[in-house]
């Protein structure tokens, strides 16, 4: 029986963390990277105190946890429904209560990053005697774990019954082009991941936008933009997997590699349009028109640099996080040095050369 649980962790939990490395990295930086090291304990104490003492703040935190849990639920349900994971249907041979417990454990393990932070909330809450709020936090998190466990258990046991809930899809008119197919994938197959990335990134941009004042340094927007981009790295990974799985046959078509490169570049530019629109009000207020036009170049080339890395032949998947870290750090330093345009151009050139060199050397992983 332990073998089944071990297999479930291997095929559900580990891919979850690998696929969400970018997003988790982004949140980690957001929580711990933007505050001075000497202030970090005080910052988090204040944050937790605010959460425990303000009802609205607590609701906002609950909504973020709910979104995270829905994101992991979506990922796990998708894997469970994948033909490649059909062997997991053996879980249904276990008693319902046992499979539920296994899924509860899976649900808890995917929630661990939040839970670790919750330990700090409990510690401060007990110290400050916020017992009722802590009970609420415990009940809410327990409800989230139970919700996911029930959904997963129900899904695998009822997979032979057609779903009564139809998720609306967007009808995209340009699916006969490369960019159209890539966009179609994100808008139709990765709706929740896209939504979550957008929520994180738009909230971040909105907060910074509201604090911008005339004469403010462009680096504030540049760094924020870089953090916002981190929440999209998961989408790049998903697109690459989609390309490997469903578009490997297109490598036989006479499509120039340059065209494929620019198809992705266009997609990644389009991806950040909502954030750009949000920032339009800040032109002339900490952001010049020229600087504004640099942002889409920076974003598309940053995401292309990740895409080009994923084309590396015989790549070690575990090295992705290391690459992402160094890419982020390099861009961070260059933006701080007021070299955002140099960074954009350099990333465009390097990613183009790597993409062109690697595209046909790479073997799609099926």
């Amino acid at each position: 029986m332990k073998g089944i649980l071990h297999m479930m962790i291997k095929v559900l939990v580990m891919p979850f963390y690998k696929n969400h490395a970018g997003l988790l990295f982004f949140v980690f930086f957001l929580m711990f990277g933007i505050v001075e090291s000497t202030q970090i304990v005080f910052y988090h104490q204040s944050l937790i105190y605010g959460m425990l003492s303000s009802g609205i703040f607590l609701v906002v935190v609950f909504v973020i946890w709910l979104l995270y849990q829905l994101k992991s639920l979506h990922f796990l349900l998708k894997n469970l429904g994948d033909d490649a994971y059909s062997f997991l249907s053996h879980v249904t041979l276990l008693p319902a209560a046992q499979s539920f417990l296994y899924f509860l454990l899976i649900s808890f393990i995917t929630f661990l990053p939040v839970f670790f932070y919750t330990l700090a909330i409990y510690a401060i809450g007990i110290q400050q005697a916020f017992y009722e709020v802590l009970a609420l936090v415990f009940v809410f998190q327990l409800a989230l774990w139970l919700m996911n466990a029930w959904m997963l258990n129900h899904s695998i046991r009822q997979r032979h019954i057609a779903s009564r809930v139809a998720v609306p899809t967007l009808a995209l008119p340009y699916q006969q082009t490369q960019t159209g197919i890539y966009a179609g994938y994100l808008f139709k197959e990765e709706k929740s991941a896209l939504l979550l990335s957008k929520i994180f990134s738009l909230v971040l941009i909105y907060i910074v936008k509201e604090t911008l004042e005339p004469g403010d340094d462009f680096r504030i927007v540049g760094i924020t933009w870089l953090f916002a981009l981190l929440s999209h790295t998961y989408l790049v990974q998903k697109l690459k997997t989609f390309e490997d799985h469903s578009l490997s046959w297109t490598r036989n078509l006479p499509i120039p590699v340059t065209k494929t490169f620019f198809s992705y570049l266009v997609l990644y530019s389009i991806l950040m349009v909502p954030e750009l629109l949000l920032l339009t009000g800040s032109i002339g207020r900490g952001l010049s028109l020229l600087q504004f036009t640099l942002l889409p170049i920076f974003s598309s080339t940053f995401l292309m640099a990740i895409h080009a890395y994923l084309l590396k032949p015989n790549r070690d998947p575990d090295q992705f996080l290391t690459y992402l870290f160094w890419l982020f750090l390099g861009c961070f330093m260059l933006v701080l040095s007021k070299l955002i345009w140099v960074t954009g151009v350099a990333m465009l050139l390097i990613s183009f050369l790597l993409f062109r060199k690697r595209f046909f050397q790479y073997e799609p992983v099926e």
């Binding site: 899809t169 699916q175 006969q176 082009t177 197919i181 179609g184 994938y185 139709k188 197959e189 989609f242 799985h245 469903s246 578009l247 490997s248 046959w249 490598r251 036989n252 078509l253 006479p254 499509i255 120039p256 590699v257 032949p313 046909f360 050397q361 790479y362 073997e363 799609p364």
Partner: protein
């Protein structure tokens, strides 16, 4: 009645080295999957024969420009590595178990391939009629059965004026009544100058298709045997 020099000319065309593989090697780390020192395949339609795991699909994916390899693959004088676009304009490939994006329609994929291979609308209409699949092309591919997906994949491989069409296991998942249609299309395209490489575990029925020879894939290498 052909004149002797005309006969010679026909013979010469028939024996032209369509596909040349030289020092071809495919390995994953130290594990060699395929090693072909030299292989010449003339124009025609050939059966790629081999046991499970012998490397038939790997060979076809290499020739189709899908998988990377060491060595050289030259089709009608055009090198796959040195001139990848011109090479790919000449070759099309239908996978044994095709996987397409589930959210696009059959028409979307046909138009996409049509644009990349610069095929005429008229030829697309002829192909769709030939395959008899128009009724489901407006639906998303995710709703197709494996047989429908297979037919779509085969149709896509016939789009454009390709000189070599690679069909990996074309017989699987198709209903028997469709096979005469497929083989008559292969004969038609052969008559207009296309060559074929077909892999199959099962022998072809002689009343449907008689290959011009075989490419035997075994012991990590490939050998050409003319009929």
């Amino acid at each position: 009645m052909l004149e002797p020099n005309q006969k010679l000319s026909v013979l010469f065309v028939r024996q032209t080295a369509m596909l040349q593989l030289t020092h071809l090697k495919k390995a994953y780390g130290s594990r060699v999957i395929l090693e072909v020192p030299h292989l010449i395949i003339p124009d025609g339609a050939y059966w790629i024969k081999g046991n499970n795991g012998s490397g038939k699909t790997t060979l076809m994916k290499i020739i189709g420009g899908i998988n990377p390899f060491e060595g050289s693959v030259i089709l009608n004088g055009i090198d796959l590595i040195k001139n990848p676009m011109a090479y790919r304009q000449q070759v099309s490939f239908a996978e044994a178990e095709p996987v397409f994006p589930g959210f696009v329609t059959g028409w979307d994929l046909i138009r996409f391939v049509q644009k990349t291979r610069h095929a005429q609308d008229e030829s697309i209409k002829t192909l769709v009629d030939y395959f008899g699949i128009e009724s489901f092309l407006s639906y998303t591919v995710g709703t197709y059965s494996s047989g429908m997906t297979k037919k779509l994949s085969l149709l896509l491989s016939f789009i454009g004026d390709t000189k070599l069409i690679l069909l990996d296991e074309p017989l699987i998942t198709l209903e028997d009544s469709f096979l005469p249609i497929l083989f008559s299309l292969i004969k038609e395209r052969q008559a207009s100058g296309s060559s074929f490489l077909l892999s199959s575990h099962q022998p072809f029925r002689e009343d449907q298709f008689v290959p011009n020879g075989k490419v035997i894939v075994e012991n990590q290498t490939a050998e050409f045997i003319a009929s």
